[in-house]
């Protein structure tokens, strides 16, 4: 293979991090599209939230792939300090409260033997419960690999 073909092959097979820029999220917009998977299946290794500013209200959150695949057990208090992270377990197990540092995969995910998931094309959504909005800027990062040459993940509009 030539250099371009080699680089193309490396590019297609690499583990990719897709970042969603910091934003505030409103209950009124629930469910909120975070990432869109298109073109083919992917392997998701991690979904991480980063609280760039504190979340001070008693909002709860919950992540779902498509219509039915739960990426955590249930709505969970999202209150957290600035500069903290949350590892979404990618399984029907509970979220763990934000912390400055935390295991990834989360310890509850590994206890459930979940280290990553296969995902068919669809949208990963954030669902907020309660009456409050997320009042701290929060960004998200999805770590994934292609299982098909045309697969892609982009932050949802």
């Amino acid at each position: 293979m030539g250099m371009k073909a080699d680089l193309d092959a490396i590019w297609l097979s690499k583990r990719t991090k897709t970042w969603r820029t910091p934003a505030l999220y409103l209950v009124a917009d629930t469910p909120i599209d975070l990432f869109t998977i298109a073109g083919g299946p992917v392997k998701i290794h991690a979904l991480t939230a980063y609280l760039e500013a504190a979340i001070t209200t008693a909002v709860t959150w919950h992540f779902i792939l498509g219509a039915a695949t739960l990426l955590d057990a249930a709505l969970f208090a999202a209150i957290g300090n600035a500069d903290e992270t949350v590892a979404v377990p990618l399984a029907n197990v509970a979220l763990i409260a934000p912390a400055l540092g935390g295991p990834s995969p989360s310890i509850l995910a590994t206890a459930a033997e979940v280290y990553g998931i296969l995902a068919a094309p669809d949208v990963i959504t954030l669902n907020l419960g309660g009456a409050a909005d997320i009042d701290g800027l929060t960004s998200f990062c999805l770590e994934w690999e292609r299982l098909s040459p045309a697969a892609s993940v982009v932050p949802s509009p």
């Binding site: 293979m1 250099m3 080699d6 680089l7 092959a9 490396i10 297609l12 097979s13 690499k14 083919g40 299946p41 392997k43 998701i44 792939l65 498509g66 219509a67 039915a68 695949t69 990426l71 990618l90 399984a91 459930a112 033997e113 979940v114 280290y115 990553g116 998931i117 296969l118 995902a119 068919a120 094309p121 669809d122 690999e145 292609r146 299982l147 098909s148 040459p149």
Partner: protein, 155 residues
């Protein structure tokens, strides 16, 4: 080769590779899915992407040649469109029904302590029983070379 070519060549040789078998109907049993050649490999995952639903009560099963089962036994392949199946890569672990999102390694593979396998040159062969598979399916094998000349190609 120049220095850059050497670096790129080494990355290419050492990287984890995903080999994709295009989405298509499966019309024969056995159907070879992938061929391992040239040396041994380490396989991390084998997954199926069901694009068009499988609506009949067919069962399916994948083996290395006719010798090493990668799941316990023939298992109902009924599946909705746009769903995934993670093969456990272990004769002791059953397949899990397809879902839009599905743990990889499968929960049963992880419970059995299997997160990958080594494989000598062979074919990965799908067999099915009872009826024909009436959906369309793509397969992806995720692997690394354990020998410089190892390869996996879709059949």
């Amino acid at each position: 080769m120049g220095a850059m070519d050497n670096v790129v060549g080494e990355i290419l040789e050492q990287r984890r590779i995903k080999t994709f078998r295009a989405v298509q109907a499966i019309v024969a049993s056995p159907t070879p899915l992938f061929t391992v050649a040239g040396g041994s490999v380490k396989i991390f995952s084998l997954s199926a992407w069901i694009v068009d639903a499988i609506t009949t009560a067919v069962t399916w099963h994948i083996m290395l040649d006719a010798a090493v089962a990668l799941d316990t036994a023939l298992f109902a392949a009924l599946a909705a469109a746009n769903t995934m199946v993670a093969w456990p890569l272990d004769v002791g672990a059953a397949l899990i029904a397809s879902a839009q999102g599905s743990p990889t390694p499968s929960a049963l593979a992880s419970a059995a302590g299997v997160v990958g396998i080594t494989a000598a040159p062979c074919d990965l062969v799908l067999t099915y029983a009872i009826a024909a598979i009436d959906g369309t399916v793509g397969f992806t094998v995720e692997w690394e070379k354990l020998s410089p000349n190892s390869s996996i190609v879709p059949v």
